[in-house]
Symmetry: C2
Subunit: 319 residues, 2 copies
């Protein structure tokens, strides 16, 4: 019984919504397909419907919903609650999502970048509980980043901070979709793993180059688990590049913790030793030893929990 | 007339002390040799003597000194005011500098890392006036860094944050004295400029390799100013590497400003175009366009002014 908030993670694939109390306990949650292809109007309507349903459940249990937090992918103007642009929702240019939701719900709504929300979620209720400063790296198709400093998301001047996946590690390296070359994301993601593996295969048998188009990162993890030498080496290479990126973050931020999330984290035992070795070689000793390198504890719930934390922080309900 | 603070920059070469009012105006200042080789006891005595002299001048003018800030090189435990270790003062292991100065002066004293102090100085009264978040890169023999976020130095968990010069840019690159390879510092410093120049000379005439031992970065700037092709190219290379480092900082922090200080800054027109070009190529467009890349305005006064700002912040005198 008491005050509660709703946290929503609006992903390109799934829409997750939950009711949380002010301590971050999940009281109810629901997941369904986003169906982004149906377009802006239908997705926003589905979002509103999901929030209403969660609110009804909460009210029925005697809770009062005081605010809603929504994590969404893309460039977000958090203060105004505008989704400037989003790779997952191509027709969302400058969508005033906060205003649309507040009109429909008559509740305060706060919009946050999804990677930032996930970082705050992990810091509030996941691996980073009881610490103030941590960085989340989400290793999926790409590499997402969220920076929490003194219990708050570091947004930067325009809300664009935390693009850690686009740190240059190899000046003349692989071409990234962002326009840069040699980004961390091109090595420490599932895409990077597949590319390294295919490059190695092509080195061995150049004539078979066009036969490797449908190899997946899961197949490579599986091969590595079964002891395949090449797959093991590819996972180690990925771990090394991740370690260089983390060593840079340690030298820059001297954080308390780095948390690794995303699908690639499932291959943790295959890469983490190489990551730790690289950190030892490259970062200053004292901050490197103090920085805990942890797996995400919340997994797919991190964004939703973090969105709820954003709602609590901005409405100034004490957490 | 009114409340004032003393800011001290204790460098390996020079000791600078000044009286500043709460708006950051320098009311008096003095510089002399540190004479670090004379050892801990004499250097601390000289420090105390300088602070006392500044205080006497201030009191004579009707000001009341409320606190002292000291910027010192090395690893500092700011909360306790201990100089853990300092490359410039080899006999200063775990020196309780705050306690020694407070006993002698009966004034509150605050100790800060010199690069951090310089960053806060630039943000308070230099290039970063009126902005909240900026990063200072001091390009000298090495590359120092200081990070100011929301008007405060970001110290990290152990006061070790801001080691931006030791960001890896070339994983298998030049050996750095920190133990890592390919640090920014090995390319975007006066040492880096000399090394690039010598490597190029050796490529041209391998047998003369041991003839280049006494080339200085100043000679290379001079040659570049006079139109020497190799020297111009070396300065451009240095600018490119600096640009990669800054692009990484922009993608990570989305800062309002990056300020460049240190001796190498004097060669600004010789490298800054290459730096800006690299930032355009590598950082996200919106944050790259918004980040001002500026020269330090305070120069050698930055550390002293910043140390005064630390004293004001920690004694909670409104700035």
């Amino acid at each position: 019984m008491g005050l509660a908030v709703i946290g929503v993670d609006l992903g390109g694939t799934n829409l997750r919504a939950a009711v949380l109390n002010h301590e971050g306990d999940i009281l109810s949650k629901h997941k369904e397909s986003t169906r982004a292809a149906e377009g802006r109007v239908k997705v926003v309507a589905r979002l509103i419907e999901n929030i209403r349903r969660q609110r009804e459940l909460a009210v029925h249990e005697g809770h009062e919903i005081v605010a809603v937090g929504v994590g969404a992918p893309g460039v977000i103007f958090g203060d105004k609650g505008i989704v400037v642009k989003s790779p997952n929702f191509p027709d969302w240019n400058n969508l005033p999502l906060k205003a649309e939701l507040e009109t429909a719900l008559t509740l305060p709504v706060f919009i946050e970048n999804d990677a930032n929300a996930a970082a705050l979620g992990e810091q509030w209720r996941g691996a980073g509980r009881d610490i103030g400063s941590m960085i989340l790296l989400t290793l999926g198709t790409g590499v997402g980043g969220g920076i929490v400093l003194d219990n708050k998301i570091w947004h930067g001047a325009d809300g664009m901070a935390g693009e850690i996946g686009h740190m240059t590690l190899v000046p003349e390296g692989r071409q990234c979709s962002c326009g840069n070359t040699g980004c961390l994301e091109m090595y420490a993601s599932s895409r990077g793993i597949v590319q390294t593996y295919c490059e190695e295969l092509i080195k061995r048998a150049p004539r078979d180059a066009d036969r490797h188009g449908d190899i997946t990162s899961e197949q490579i993890y599986q091969a590595a688990r079964e002891g395949d030498g090449l797959a093991l080496r590819v996972m180690k290479d990925m771990g090394r590049m991740l370690g260089i990126g983390i060593a840079n973050l340690i030298n820059i931020f001297n954080p308390e913790m780095i948390v690794i999330g995303g699908g690639v984290r499932d291959a943790w035992p295959l890469f983490i030793d190489a990551t730790r070795e690289e950190i030892r070689k490259r970062a200053f000793e004292a901050p490197a030893e103090r920085t805990a390198i942890m797996q995400s504890l919340l997994g797919d719930d991190a964004g939703m929990v973090g969105a709820a934390a954003v709602a609590l922080q901005r409405t100034r309900v004490p957490r």
